[in-house]
């Protein structure tokens, strides 16, 4: 740990400054952003380096990391700094000049911190973790680390199955991070004070507390056919299962209060306020929805306060009201109206990511557009045919969709986006071709109701990847060749109609990255060597098409003896031990299996916010409850004080 780091920790900035003129967009490496925080190194006993394993432009806006950064820095006995993946041009220069992985806040070497916390939104960040570890001088393998090295702790949605990176991390936090990072900080602080902060002692304490999953404390054994026999703790003090964390009252955690304002251009140039967490619509493909249950809403007055706080702390021109499906907030009409009234004429834009297919969504969009800005309208039917939408539990009829989109055109929108997936369980060519028919119908009806010929719609479609902790965790993933063939058929079908086809844009992602994502999402510890081999062969930034190299992944898998098909296109049976079974997302495995069977039978399940509880297991298991319903209070206008 940092305890044994001799002397003062030096900034690497002087060395960095010499190479910055030679890299692309050097500003991303210098920190110094408004609202960033730097504490004296010696002033606290516990020090975190927080990493988002992608480029700064993607990592900086990440809400999870900004929340943890602030929650940790608010504590007197903790400091937190941020670090991001460096681009290959920078990596090469850092190696040449001996500059280690550094934090952007005070340019301290990552290796000097007590903890390196890495937030994985997607599995495609795994190779970037290895780059950072290697540049930091931290051994890639957890079992080769000593007391000199930080604890490497994973979090984020991908950490719900951290088995593929089990060799490289010391622990994984599952679920909401706010309270978990504070508990971990307490454990480290107390251990340091008691002189029991060796790596082994700390990991024992963390594992025993159940606050995080420590892979080294579990042993995986396999059946002769390659399936997992069991995953068992190696000692009596380690629990059999590790449960996810759930923050129950989001009004008590109104973070970030002081969002960091980047100098560099990032993917989201706006402030964000999370209006609720969780989603119980129960779309069966949706890992985010399944693992973040139950729904916990913020009250509209807290949201309105957070909007104003972040605007005045940042000077951003736009605030996004974020959640998994923002139109579902039970008070959303009053909230959007209140905010639209408050910011009318102020050049402040409000946006609300929602893809719900109904007229209400258009009303909301209209309300938010009052201020002169109009964001695009996006609807996500996800599946092309009524049958497949029953399989995935996306309860939208064709009629709903046509009517909704027509209403959007009638209300003045000329362009809408439609999101779909390809490769869903039980899907046939017919289900996907239905998308083309639907899009054409949308244009036909849209022209009729709007009386215009220049309306457009864009069909955006990507390959489905089965994810852990969802009813589709047992499903066979569609091979990339079949995915690509189906997408090609769909494109033909759209283009075949010269007249309507011209009004329909077609955006698709080819099937290959999905296979690698599928391998990493549902992989077990035997997949780790593939990640390492790919990284050693130069694999970086796998989430970027210009860096992603499918053939490299396949040849490395073959070289280490991993059968990619076995992990991806193989359907699992009910009694198979899944690599993540010992990680408790709260969902009852029997309920998930039943939901999978219902999917195959094309039976839908309602949302538990407006129908009786269907016993998914979460609230029972976690001692939580749904928190929804309109709250009292009004959104007051902000009085501008001008001097």
């Amino acid at each position: 740990m940092g305890v044994s780091y001799p002397g003062v920790v030096q900034s690497v900035y002087p060395a960095l400054e010499r190479i910055l003129p030679l890299v692309r967009k050097p500003i991303q490496y210098v920190g110094g952003e408004l609202n960033a925080s730097v504490k004296p190194w010696e002033s606290v006993p516990v020090r975190w380096a927080l990493m988002y394993p992608d480029a700064y432009e993607v990592g900086l806006p990440n809400q999870g990391l900004q929340i943890l950064y602030e929650v940790l820095n608010e504590r007197d006995d903790v400091l937190a700094e941020r670090t991001y993946s460096v681009w290959p041009d920078m990596e090469a220069l850092m190696r040449e000049h001996g500059v280690p992985q550094f934090t952007v806040d005070a340019h301290r070497p990552v290796s000097a911190f007590d903890v390196l916390g890495v937030s994985f939104a997607t599995e495609l960040g795994y190779t970037n973790l290895l780059t950072a570890l290697d540049l930091a001088g931290i051994p890639l393998h957890a079992d080769e680390r000593t007391d000199e090295h930080p604890l490497v702790i994973a979090g984020g949605h991908a950490a719900f199955n951290p088995e593929p990176i089990a060799d490289f991390i010391d622990a994984a936090v599952i679920g909401d991070g706010e309270q978990a990072v504070l508990r971990l900080s307490d454990i480290i602080r107390d251990a340091k004070a008691a002189g029991t902060a060796s790596r082994g002692e700390l990991l024992d304490a963390i594992a025993a507390s159940g606050v995080a999953y420590v892979p080294a404390k579990y042993e995986v054994s396999y059946l002769p056919d390659g399936r997992i026999r069991r995953v068992a703790p190696v000692d009596a003090s380690t629990p059999w299962r590790v449960a996810k964390h759930t923050v129950s009252d989001l009004d008590e955690w109104p973070y970030p209060k002081q969002p960091i304002v980047p100098l560099a251009e990032t993917v989201h140039e706006r402030a964000s306020v999370e209006i609720f967490r969780g989603c119980t619509r129960g779309c069966r493909f949706c890992q985010a929805g399944m693992i973040t249950r139950p729904v916990r809403e913020r009250s509209k007055t807290t949201i309105a306060d957070m909007v104003q706080t972040s605007l005045s702390a940042t000077g951003f021109e736009e605030v996004g009201l974020l959640s998994l499906s923002s139109a579902d907030h039970s008070d959303i009409a009053a909230l959007t109206k209140g905010l639209a009234d408050r910011y009318e004429g102020s050049n402040t834009g409000l946006s609300l990511p929602s893809t719900r297919v109904d007229a209400f969504n258009i009303d909301l969009a209209n309300e938010l557009a009052r201020n002169g800005r109009r964001s695009g309208l996006t609807f996500a039917p996800e599946g092309g045919s009524e049958r497949i939408r029953k399989v995935i539990n996306k309860m939208v009829t064709e009629e709903d969709l046509i009517r909704t989109v027509a209403a959007a055109y009638a209300a003045g929108w000329r362009q809408v986006k439609l999101y779909f997936m390809c490769g869903l369980p039980t899907e046939t060519d017919e289900d996907v071709l239905q998308i083309a028919r639907m899009a054409k119908e949308v244009i036909r009806t849209g022209r009729e109701v709007s009386g215009r010929k220049d309306i457009r719609c864009t069909v955006s479609i990507g390959g489905f990847v089965p994810k852990p902790h969802t009813p589709f965790q047992w499903a066979a993933q569609l091979g990339w060749q079949q995915t690509d063939a189906r997408l090609a058929l769909l494109r033909e079908e759209i283009r075949s109609d010269r007249e309507l086809g011209r009004a329909i844009g077609f955006r698709y992602h080819d099937g290959r990255p999905g296979i690698v994502e599928g391998l990493l999402a549902r992989g077990d510890r035997r997949v780790g060597p593939v990640i390492e081999a790919v990284w050693r062969d130069g694999g970086r930034f796998d989430g970027w098409s210009e860096y992603f190299d499918f053939d490299r992944w396949m040849s490395c898998a073959e070289a280490v003896g991993v059968d990619v098909d076995w992990y991806t296109t193989r359907e699992r049976e009910e009694n198979e031990v899944l690599p993540w079974d010992h990680l408790d997302s709260g969902l009852d495995k029997e309920w998930l299996w039943q939901d999978w069977q219902d999917a195959l039978d094309e039976v839908e399940v309602e949302d538990c916010r407006w129908s009786p509880c269907f016993d998914c297991g979460v609230c029972d298991q976690m001692g939580t409850e749904i928190q929804v319903g309109p709250t009292d209070g009004v959104i007051l206008p902000i009085v501008q004080v001008t001097s």
Partner: protein
């Protein structure tokens, strides 16, 4: 894409302010676009009653005078903006400094009396190498003309860098200071380095730390008269 929304009510500006700011320390790595975003956010944070342009997509009226390139530090960058309500230049300077990251520092804010372009005819630069460059600079100073090629979207362009440089001095063996006249186009610090290496090819090609010390109108005796 979207339905046209009515234009915002247009309010004419009542005051124009000119700003001198510095790019210091690590902020020299901010590009001009990076600065622009930070500046416009700072204006919003402070609540400066900005004048907006008229039209369908109104934007705040700010005009920037030839910005120092990414990687160059500066003590003397200039911009101009208009407001729809009279404000106190001193108060706004303080408020903006608090709303900008450290290193992007507002040095002065004044009410405009004359257009900036007329007052910014040349720049004084300090260029620092990590080693002794006495010989190379002497050779450069001795030349009458040194041509450098600039490749732009419009094609190649030859500019005589040396002809636009004057008052070349060496306060230290690693440091050259010089005045560069603003022209169409104005040589950038990197092009001055290329020019030096053209007359003295043995000079190793390393990053040079350039700092703009001042801008203004050249006066007799080699100095620059700053606008404010």
């Amino acid at each position: 894409m979207a339905r046209r929304t009515p234009d915002r009510e247009y309010i004419p500006p009542v005051q124009t302010l000119q700003v001198r700011y510095a790019k210091r320390g690590r902020m020299r790595f901010a590009s001009h676009r990076d600065f622009q975003r930070a500046w416009e956010r700072a204006l919003r944070r402070v609540g400066v009653p900005m004048a907006y342009s008229a039209g369908f997509s109104p934007h705040p009226k700010v005009s920037y005078a030839g910005a120092a390139p990414t990687g160059a530090a500066s003590e003397a960058e200039f911009l101009e903006f208009s407001v729809v309500q009279q404000i106190d230049p001193r108060a706004v300077r303080q408020a903006l400094n608090a709303a900008l990251p450290e290193g992007l520092d507002i040095v002065a804010v004044v009410e405009a009396t004359a257009p900036l372009v007329d007052q910014l005819r040349a720049s004084r630069w300090r260029m620092e190498w990590p080693f002794d460059v006495t010989e190379a600079i002497a050779a450069f100073a001795a030349a009458d003309s040194v041509e450098v090629e600039r490749i732009t979207k419009a094609g190649r362009r030859i500019l005589d860098v040396r002809a636009l440089c004057s008052a070349i001095q060496m306060p230290e063996p690693r440091v050259m200071e010089l005045t560069v006249a603003h022209a169409e186009p104005t040589p950038r610090p990197a092009e001055v380095v290329v020019a030096v290496r053209t007359v003295f090819p043995d000079l190793p090609d390393v990053p040079v730390l350039a700092t703009r010390l001042g801008q203004g109108v050249p006066v007799d005796g080699g100095g620059l008269a700053a606008p404010f």
